[in-house]
């Protein structure tokens, strides 16, 4: 009986994913309504539950893909993987207003550069206070603080040790998870309620997963604007970190 149950779930991974996420959403919206009287958005709660499940999955399997490493839940990996995620992000642009994009375009571009450089500098400064002095290590950790993709790409390009690369990935992951959880909580205080601010927000934070989940938990209408700038961040980071920013770090600390 139980065997055939798990077998059905295993063989229909993506469908199992739809069912599990649907039930999670249902529970989250009920919790949002009953416990917080709707003040904490149901999707914010669903994302937090998702992260908790990811943590439990991670410590029980020792893998890197959270809940998706448990075979029964591997469909979650497909559902929330890069392909469908990007497809759904592009679909949100259907509701976007072209005029808003044109108006805030420059603010978005500036925020991309500002966000990248701010993250990089903070990463470098914190690495310094923890005793790292080698420009390769500093650059890799700074790049990881930008996003968990920029870190390893930069580290590999400039020859960092795998230990430092792992640290840079961890810094980027912390940033991504915190952006998911923190965005709905601070949205009110940073006036994150209009397309222009969402564009700037996406450029500053940069982490596509963090921004897309954070905005989804705040106001779905803001998603296309923030997601659009955020998707340029990693490209810019991979371009600037191993080149200009590495040279600058070397000149200062080399």
């Amino acid at each position: 009986m139980l065997d055939s149950f798990t077998e059905v779930l295993n063989e229909n991974g993506l469908i199992t994913g739809f069912a599990i996420v649907g039930i999670t959403m249902l529970i989250s919206y009920i919790l949002s309504d009953k416990l917080t009287k709707g003040r904490l958005n149901g999707s914010a709660i669903a994302i937090i539950i998702g992260l908790i499940l990811a943590y439990l999955g991670g410590i029980s399997t020792g893998g890197e893909k959270g809940l998706a490493d448990i075979q029964m839940f591997s469909g979650i990996g497909l559902m929330g993987g890069g392909m469908l995620r990007d497809f759904a992000i592009v679909a949100t642009a259907f509701e976007a207003d072209f005029r808003e994009l044109k108006n805030a375009g420059w603010a978005g571009v500036i925020s991309l550069f500002a966000g990248l450089i701010i993250s990089f500098i903070i990463g470098v400064v914190i690495a310094l206070t923890f005793g790292y002095t080698d420009p390769v290590d500093l650059t890799t950790i700074g790049a990881g603080t930008a996003t968990y993709i920029v870190g390893p790409v930069t580290g590999t390009a400039i020859g960092a040790s795998s230990e430092v690369i792992a640290l840079s990935v961890a810094a980027g992951l912390v940033k991504s998870v915190l952006t998911m959880i923190g965005t709905p909580l601070v949205a009110k205080y940073i006036s994150l309620d209009n397309p222009r601010t969402a564009l700037v927000f996406g450029g500053l934070m940069g982490t596509t997963s963090g921004v897309s989940a954070g905005l989804a938990a705040t106001d779905i209408k803001l998603v296309p604007y923030g997601a659009m700038t955020a998707t340029f961040f990693t490209g810019l980071g991979v371009l600037l970190c191993p080149s200009v920013l590495f040279i600058a770090t070397k000149a200062i600390f080399g």
Binding site: G80, F94, A170
Partner: protein
């Protein structure tokens, strides 16, 4: 038909991703530069012009809005497969770097979102008129 909308979305995503790949090659890196963002821009422009010419019927729009509506559930699934355990295992330096960056970037949002405000945007145009009229 619903599939027309889904196909339009798919073609935009493929086109954007391809351009992103080309941009990556152009700057000598094996990464996709803004592919999703470019796909979104293509979709916004196409939907705009198709709608104006009345070429995007209700059913085709359903194919687009369905996937837009699946966005949050997909994001929840994405959250469930993040390497949260790895983030925590990274130790105090990784956690501190992440926390400080997020706080400072959050704080920078209102400052930067004021940049370039008032260049042809509708609300600020109205504000300028009111200011000029002395209603402050």
């Amino acid at each position: 038909m619903i599939i027309y909308g889904v196909a339009l979305l798919a073609i935009c995503m493929l086109a954007g991703t391809l351009i992103g790949e080309w941009l990556g090659i152009a700057i000598g890196l094996d990464v996709n530069v803004g592919g999703v963002g470019i796909a979104m821009l293509i979709l916004v422009v196409l939907v705009n012009s198709l709608k104006q010419r009345g070429k995007l019927d209700k059913d085709s729009q359903k194919g687009l809005s369905f996937w837009g509506g699946m966005y949050i559930p997909i994001v929840v699934a994405m959250a469930a497969q993040q390497n949260v355990a790895g983030a925590i295992k990274g130790g105090p330096m990784a956690i501190l770097a992440g926390v400080v960056t997020v706080i400072i970037c959050f704080a920078a949002v209102p400052i930067l979102s004021n940049i370039g405000k008032g260049k042809g945007s509708i609300e600020s145009f109205d504000n300028e008129k009111i200011d000029a009229g002395g209603f402050k």
